[in-house]
């Protein structure tokens, strides 16, 4: 299993293939489409990420010491970004997730392209990913 750092480098490399932001958006949209949607019953308000302009749900579970995430959104770009995050962070131990400081947001230009709203949806998603990891770590 690759480390989080290695997976992040791969992610940055994958995005580097696209020059144009429209192509990057196209790639993000595809990532979201290939992700299995959540069941309607799973999309409860308690799982909503705060600070997003659209609705983004994030859930997590622990299996054999590794955290697995799944997410969905009613807008396709946030869904794609959530898919990107869930594939990156899924399958790792809580400690590795908690220690990991992402640089890809800046490296692939996501920070400039996604409007920082009153509170930034993207950083909220990452914070919530880490919160889940912390919760699972303390339960174990």
């Amino acid at each position: 299993m690759m480390t989080l750092k290695d997976k992040e480098s791969q992610l940055i490399e994958d995005f580097g293939m696209f020059e144009d932001w429209m192509d990057k958006y196209g790639y993000i949209i595809e990532l979201g489409k290939s992700e299995a949607p959540m069941n309607e019953e799973e999309k409860v308000d308690e799982l909503l990420i705060k600070g997003c302009q659209s609705r983004v749900w994030l859930n997590a579970n622990m299996k054999e010491g590794k955290v697995h995430y799944r997410a969905d959104s009613d807008a396709v770009i946030p869904k794609g970004i959530a898919a990107l995050l869930t594939s990156l962070f899924s399958g790792h131990a809580p400690d590795e997730i908690l220690e990991f400081e992402p640089v890809f947001i800046k490296e692939i230009g996501l920070a400039q392209h996604l409007s920082p709203t009153r509170s930034n949806g993207l950083s909220s998603m990452i914070r919530q990913i880490k919160n889940y990891a912390l919760a699972f770590k303390t339960k174990v």
Binding site: M22, I29, H113
Partner: protein, 392 residues
């Protein structure tokens, strides 16, 4: 923007600025910056002169007969809060009703909602149709059926749909019933001719930054008949005449309503913006050009399959097109349009209750100004089609 020329279609949020406005603000801070009104030095005199000249120019621009009826504020929201607060304590009583439209901007809704709890007033809403327009018969019926309405507070035109309300007619009917009228002119002052004397309104509020001026400066026109009964909103330096340890006499109007050091540079910038509109360009021709672009934009958007427009129709409209696409999130549309260099706004546009009533989570809004071009409108339409192709 992102490798594409910027196509700025978010003018209803704020306008771009003429060079003369930016230069005037720089000139102010470089050469005559000083505090106003009570300085005994030439710099203070020069600064005061520019501030008062701005007041005069604005009075002239909106047809106010009395220069002292022009009060500087921080913006439209500040002006509306000012009135909700001062009318709330001095004019409205428990049980009184305030009339609004369903399409009011949050800044002309929330301050009044607060008075429900604080002052025991009721709010009555005039419904708008899907084009954003009011039903005049329903308005007249409402005025006839109730005797508790003391104030009508209404936008000159809607920031969501662009619908321009028939103010003159509405104000005449309201005044006949003894109802006072406050106009939120944030959008209206930019695209419509405003004459507060002709309109007969009691109050008219607008912001400098939508009118090609700087942010942080706004105007509140107060008809002088309110001077005796309308208390100040804020207290302190600049609005007093004499201060004892336990009592105060206030300055005369309009200074009574302007506490603290004003945004003199902002007023100077707004004056420069109005001079630009009055003296540098042909404002009527500019408005005609806006309407021409608006129709081009509207027809183009209406042609695209799956797109629904809020607004349109053949009644008076500001050059604003709000639209939504079934099954496509407004956030995705605006984000990808940004990727092509197009700046539009997406979301609830500070009109949440109405959008919720219509079952919409948000729209995309493209809003024009006279400096936009046909090429920009066409580029927007092409970009919208391209983006929809990727999202549908």
């Amino acid at each position: 923007m992102h490798g594409h020329p910027l196509v700025y279609l978010d003018n209803a949020a704020t306008s771009l600025k003429p060079h003369s406005v930016i230069e005037e603000i720089t000139r102010y801070y470089s050469t005559i910056n000083a505090n106003v009104h009570r300085a005994n030095h030439s710099l203070g005199h020069a600064s005061t002169e520019v501030y008062e000249a701005a007041r005069s120019r604005i009075a002239n621009f909106i047809g106010a007969k009395d220069v002292s009826s022009i009060v500087f504020t921080k913006g439209t929201t500040d002006s509306l809060n000012f009135l909700a607060d001062t009318l709330g304590t001095s004019f409205l009583k428990p049980g009184d009703a305030v009339l609004l439209t369903e399409s009011e901007h949050h800044s002309n809704m929330v301050p009044w909602i607060e008075l429900i709890a604080k002052r025991g007033i009721q709010l009555v809403y005039l419904p708008v149709d899907r084009s954003g327009h009011l039903d005049m018969e329903a308005y007249v019926d409402l005025l006839d059926s109730r005797s508790d309405i003391r104030l009508l507070t209404i936008a000159h035109s809607s920031n969501l749909t662009g619908a321009v309300h028939p103010l003159k007619e509405m104000i005449t009917k309201a005044k006949a019933k003894g109802i006072s009228v406050l106009v939120d002119g944030a959008q209206g002052v930019v695209h419509q001719s405003v004459n507060v004397t002709g309109l007969g309104c009691d109050f008219y509020a607008f912001s400098g930054h939508k009118l090609y001026g700087p942010m942080g400066i706004g105007v509140l026109y107060i008809h002088p008949k309110w001077f005796a009964t309308l208390p100040p909103y804020q207290y302190g330096g600049g609005m007093i005449s004499e201060v004892q340890f336990d009592r105060v006499t206030f300055a005369e109007e309009p200074y009574k309503y302007e506490a603290g050091t004003p945004n003199v540079a902002g007023a100077a910038g707004l004056k420069a913006a109005i001079e630009f509109l009055d003296d540098e360009i042909d404002l009527s021709a500019a408005w005609e050009h806006e309407q021409h672009l608006y129709k081009r934009l509207l027809h183009g958007v209406e042609q695209i399959e799956g797109v629904s427009v809020l607004g349109g129709g053949d009644r008076a409209q500001d050059p604003i097109v709000s639209f939504y696409v079934e099954g496509v999130h407004h956030y995705d549309l605006a984000t990808m349009l940004d990727g092509l260099g197009v700046a539009v706004r997406a979301g609830h546009h500070c009109v949440q209750p109405l959008l919720r009533k219509w079952g919409l989570k948000g729209t995309v809004r493209a809003s024009l100004a006279f400096y936009n071009t046909e090429a920009e409108v066409d580029y927007f339409l092409q970009s919208l089609e391209r983006v929809l192709g990727m999202l549908q």
